[in-house]
């Protein structure tokens, strides 16, 4: 187990898109983080029901999506391509179905590699179906067995990279988010989610090793992006979403300490921090993911990306073709510009423009500013445990936000600014003693919502 205690990237000059200290060979001819940013395309089904009777239609949809997208990638001469197949719940609940689709995607990618020299890799992301049971049963039972089987069968069927958007801890974090309960969020992320990540990623790393795949990385989507979506719709303060984003870092770092090698999953905006800490290549998403969701991070997320993704798009017809094909084209041009800038010696200039265009408009963008990331990441990783790292993340990001706001690096409405003080007061109350913190949080927890034994906690 690799224990991170410092940063792999310490200089701002080295913290740029397309390059990382630990480049990764993967799939058919790709090297990630070695100077080129590649597109990562994700697609999903149009509105339709999935069952045994419609699987023939499901296969037809995926066959069409991958074939047309690869043809567009070849037409636009992309230097390489990663395709992500994010399994829908039904395709994980029936592991054979997910594996069937994995196999057909892999066959098409193999064909384009052979016929057109398209360097490529296939990332497969089973759904975290453990939360179908409430409170979630995370380490045993039918859903766990099916999810493990999904990883195994998809790896056998040709997945090059294995990922997940795991949800351990989310059963308490949702309420913490809506209540702006910082201690609740720290407990869910730094105590529960971190423990679940350890257990889960030991399994994923084992499956990957047994089937010639690579364990890639997780995403705190259900935590950080839920916060971002709630902030975008003005349900919660943006400063709270920014704090949560940074607090997800220790939780997602656990995957790499257990053996994940990257590329981190696209929707994990915490990947900027994880790249700085681990040196592994990271996928990111932003402007070209507008087909999936709004984000205030469209350009700044691109600044340090090694793969650039569209997050997900439904297979529906647009004037330019089917939506995944259109996404493929958008990603091809977005990455072409990044690579051109790098070849012309302008990578850091373009990076700074990408950063500068977003950073003053939203505190969530500010906390992704590369120099802010290096400072906060160093403070986080200097702590020895996931809890203390999450506590430090809260304290450090709030200090950075207060300073940034005072120096007018970004602006906040008055109701937003008030939350800086309220959240800081909560963060300062977090004890250093994890045992005491757990005791306090367990005492106030709703036992109908969570099973602590599923986190290895004997409380």
């Amino acid at each position: 187990m690799e224990k991170y205690t410092g940063l792999a990237i310490t200089s701002l000059d080295e913290f740029v898109f397309g390059r990382c200290p630990r480049p990764l060979k993967v799939g058919r001819g790709l090297v990630l983080g070695d100077g080129t940013v590649y597109p990562e395309l994700n697609f999903t089904l149009p509105p339709m029901h999935i069952d045994a009777g419609t699987m023939v239609d499901v296969r037809r949809e995926y066959t069409g999506m991958i074939d047309q997208a690869c043809a567009r990638a070849v037409a636009l001469q992309v230097p390489g391509l990663v395709v992500e197949f994010e399994l829908l719940p039904d395709l994980t609940l029936e592991p054979e179905w997910g594996a069937e689709v994995t196999a057909l995607l892999r066959q098409t990618l193999d064909r384009y590699a052979a016929s057109d020299g398209l360097a490529n890799a296939l990332r497969v992301t089973p759904n975290d179906i453990r939360e179908f049971v409430r409170p979630p049963v995370l380490r045993e039972g039918d859903k766990w067995d099916r999810m493990v089987s999904s990883f195994e069968l998809c790896a056998q069927a040709g997945a090059d990279l294995l990922s997940i958007e795991s949800t351990g801890g989310k059963e308490l974090h949702d309420d913490a988010l809506l209540n702006a309960d910082l201690a609740g969020s720290v407990f869910a992320l730094g105590v529960l989610a971190a423990r679940d990540m350890g257990y889960l990623w030991d399994m994923i790393v084992g499956v990957a090793a047994g089937h010639g795949a690579l364990a890639a990385g997780d995403s705190a989507c259900g935590f950080g992006n839920t916060a971002m979506a709630l902030a975008d719709t003005r349900h919660i303060p943006k400063v709270w979403a920014a704090v949560v984003r940074v607090m997800t870092v220790p939780r997602s770092l656990v995957a790499y300490e257990r053996g994940a090698l990257g590329p981190g999953k696209d929707c994990a905006y915490e990947n900027v921090y994880l790249k700085a800490i681990t040196g592994h290549p990271m996928a990111m998403e932003g402007a070209e993911a507008a087909c999936a969701h709004l984000s205030p991070l469209g350009n700044i997320a691109k600044a340090t990306a090694d793969l650039w993704s569209n997050e997900s798009v439904q297979n529906i017809k647009l004037l330019g073709g089917m939506a995944p094909t259109v996404s493929m084209e958008q990603l091809a041009y977005a990455t072409r510009l990044l690579n051109q800038a790098a070849q012309a010696g302008g990578a850091t200039t373009l990076r700074d423009w990408l950063v500068g265009s977003d950073m003053d408009k939203d505190p969530q963008a500010y906390v992704l500013r590369p120099d802010v990331v290096l400072k906060l990441a160093a403070a986080i990783v200097a702590e020895p445990t996931a809890y203390l790292r999450t506590r430090r993340a809260a304290l450090a990001v709030l200090e950075a936000l207060r300073q940034g706001h005072a120096e007018k690096e970004f602006s906040l409405s008055k109701p937003e600014a008030n939350w800086l003080d309220r959240l800081s007061a909560q963060a300062e109350d977090l004890p250093e003693d994890e045992g005491r913190f757990i005791e306090e949080m367990v005492a106030g927890a709703d036992r109908d919502k969570v099973r602590f034994d599923q986190y290895g906690l004997d409380v």
């Binding site: 509105p47 179908f132 919660i236 939350w419």
Partner: protein, 210 residues
């Protein structure tokens, strides 16, 4: 300032203990339970909703207010029952079968409750027959949400199940969620579509007025 004014203010400020005390005072003064509910609690939450719509507060502040209202309502409930005061409506709410994304659904439930509706929260991954059962037990609104393109289709299955059970005419159905549109709501025979939690409250009021 009257006791009802103080009750309303306690709800807006999220002061549960004060709200409970003011309900007690109001009852002792002989104010009808229905008046305390309508002009104190629901009006207070209405004011909170207004502040939220204007961007002055966020959901965390609304939840504090909602908890104050809930605490006061607990004290008031036996008197409401005794005086035959009914809720504005009974809403059965849940995410469709196969869908686990419930934050939006929870927000809608919270805001409806604050507006005086009785909520039957069916949770997540709710099969059609549970919605049917809830309507049999008196729900006059069914509210469904879905976030996935492959689970939104189960909304139609629920509407068909309500039709098959002969209950469609006695219930209003509203839908929402990221992939849902007004067009889709119309196509599957729902009575309305709401884009967010605030508009869901307005929509419930509208569909029940029809």
């Amino acid at each position: 300032m009257t006791t009802i004014d103080e009750l309303r203010e306690a709800v807006v400020d999220g002061q549960a203990k004060v709200a409970v005390a003011k309900v007690g005072e109001g009852l002792a003064e002989g104010t009808e339970a229905g008046t305390l509910l309508r002009d104190g609690l629901i009006a207070g939450m209405g004011q909170v909703g207004q502040l939220y719509e204007e961007g002055e507060i966020f959901v965390p502040e609304m939840l504090v207010a909602a908890r104050a209202m809930a605490a006061a309502l607990k004290v008031l409930k036996p008197y409401l029952v005794e005086q035959g005061v009914k809720s504005n409506g009974k809403v059965a709410i849940g995410t469709t079968q196969g869908d686990l994304h419930d934050i939006g659904k929870n927000l809608v439930a919270m805001m409806l409750e604050g507006s005086g509706y009785e909520i039957v929260d069916l949770g997540v991954d709710v099969p059609a027959d549970k919605f049917v059962q809830a309507v049999r037990e008196g729900a006059n609104v069914v509210a469904m949400s879905a976030l996935l393109t492959t689970t939104m289709t189960n909304m139609q299955a629920t509407i068909e199940a309500l039709r098959d059970a002969g209950l469609r005419d006695q219930v209003r159905i509203i839908v929402g969620g990221a992939p849902i549109t007004k067009t889709y709501a119309d196509e599957i025979g729902a009575d309305g579509y709401a884009e967010d939690a605030s508009s869901a409250v307005r929509l419930v009021k509208e569909v029940l007025a029809v």
